[in-house]
């Protein structure tokens, strides 16, 4: 019985391990393993003779090398059994039986280890696929911050994971107006990111000047309602800045309210806009609102990643976000948003649970 087991495992282990060895580097690797096996035997002999602790330290190093070479635990027990046969002639029958018993007990560990190895490789493949997808997304959804006379724009958008479920877009109209979309897909990660591409292409297909914020949202709502999973929806704020009239016209589809900073009174006010998120009801209508913007006034648009971020167990309240914006308000808009993000990133237990997007417009003249 005992012999049967040992021969059985030696051969089956070899079959399993050989292809791996070849993959890893052919004969060289095989030699290396043999070398480590010899070291193991030597260290074992040394320890049995002297109980010198240096042998224990030595075996720790050998084990690490074995792990690197994907040697399974049952193979080490096997190696140990062989080595003991050489080291000592005084082995009794019970000991030998017990070692075969241990060998059997290690097999599940071996299988688990192989599985981990496989998962690790799969994970690596997935990670590189996701990073390809993420950079593709960046290209697809890329938007350039426009330069508009008299308007200072700052934008920061940071994904919580590899792919960003937040989206912002600038559309410069021929009449000098600027369209700004900021959106957040509910649902995180890859499905959310894919959904954003759909929004972007739907928006690209609209004739730019004929669309008002409310009709853009109404149209997008239909697209989203028809095309996405029932548990997914999108919040969006669409704003249009009209320099000739010094006005901001905007509509919101359930988006986190932004803020209006009035420079004359030095006050922040929540930008109030009602509207159902995109993708829930097929015939939603959206209201349109207007704000008059004067010199040094600011418009602050954000996603709920900003207000939902936490410092440990503590939520960061919107008042805090505003006080940080105020702190950096003397800077150009881009430096402002960068500094606000950095401020939160520096908090000790800060964790970005959701994608973070902050957009600031300031009227300069």
């Amino acid at each position: 019985m005992c012999h049967f087991h040992r021969t059985f495992w030696t051969t089956s282990v070899n079959k399993k391990i050989l292809p791996v060895i070849w993959l890893l580097g052919g004969i060289e690797m095989e030699e290396l393993i043999k070398l480590h096996a010899a070291t193991y035997k030597e260290l074992l002999k040394n320890y049995v003779d002297t109980q010198d602790e240096r042998a224990l330290y030595g075996v720790e190093k050998v084990t690490k090398a074995f792990i690197k070479e994907n040697i399974l635990p049952e193979e080490i027990v096997n190696l140990h059994i062989d080595a003991m046969e050489e080291v000592s002639t005084k082995l009794n029958k019970d000991y030998k039986h017990s070692m075969n018993f241990l060998l059997e007990a290690m097999i599940s560990y071996g299988l688990a280890m192989q599985e981990i190895q496989m998962l690790r490789e799969e994970k690596h493949v997935l990670e590189s696929e996701i990073s390809v997808a993420a950079s593709m997304q960046e290209t697809l959804l890329g938007t350039t911050k426009p330069s508009i006379e008299g308007l200072d724009i700052g934008i920061v958008s940071v994904p919580a994971h590899q792919m960003n479920g937040d989206y912002h877009h600038f559309i410069k109209g021929k009449d000098g107006s600027l369209g700004i979309a900021i959106a957040d897909v509910i649902g995180k990660g890859i499905p959310a990111a894919l959904c954003m591409s759909m929004i972007k292409y739907a928006m690209d297909s609209y004739p730019e000047e004929s669309m008002s914020p409310k009709s853009i949202l109404k149209n997008l709502n239909r697209v989203v309602e028809r095309n996405v999973d029932p548990s997914m929806f999108i919040t969006m704020c669409y704003a249009q800045y009209l320099p000739s009239e010094q006005k901001l016209r905007y509509s919101s589809a359930g988006h986190e309210p932004g803020y209006y900073y009035n420079a004359k009174n030095d006050t922040f006010k929540e930008i109030d806009a009602k509207g159902l998120v995109l993708g829930v009801s097929p015939d939603s209508e959206y209201s349109e609102y207007e704000l008059v913007i004067e010199k040094n006034d600011m418009i602050i648009l954000l996603t709920d990643g900003v207000t939902e971020c936490r410092d440990g167990e503590r939520f960061i309240e919107s008042q805090e976000v505003l006080s940080i914006i105020r702190k950096y308000a003397y800077l150009p808009a881009q430096e402002m948003v960068d500094n606000v993000y950095k401020h939160f990133e520096r908090l000790q237990d800060f964790q970005l649970r959701d994608d973070f997007t902050l957009l600031i417009l300031r009227k300069k003249v």
Binding site: S231, F233, D304, D354
Partner: protein
Amino acid sequence: MNLTVNVVEENEKSVLNVSGEIDAYTAPKLKESLLPLTKKEKNKVEVNLENVTYMDSTGLGVFVSALKSTKENNSTLTLLNLQDRVLRIFKITGLDEVITIRAAIRGGNE
């Protein structure tokens, strides 16, 4: 933080008592309990959120799909006893106008 969900079946009514935090990790658990209830024809589903201290947008997603399911199955969905922070996100997203919410009523649902 964990989420616990327990279902109390009453006459023609299912009450779901939820406590903890609803986020990307716990939302699937809520969905598993909630969606089958809304699929029962004419069922009245009440979700008691009194002990839910935090909910993110993934949680909203669960309620939106439950709402859609009630429309397909002639069942109803009512949310009860929402804490302010949770109620706020239903208001911002406009979902308070399409989902029945009784925010302030306390007791009587235990």
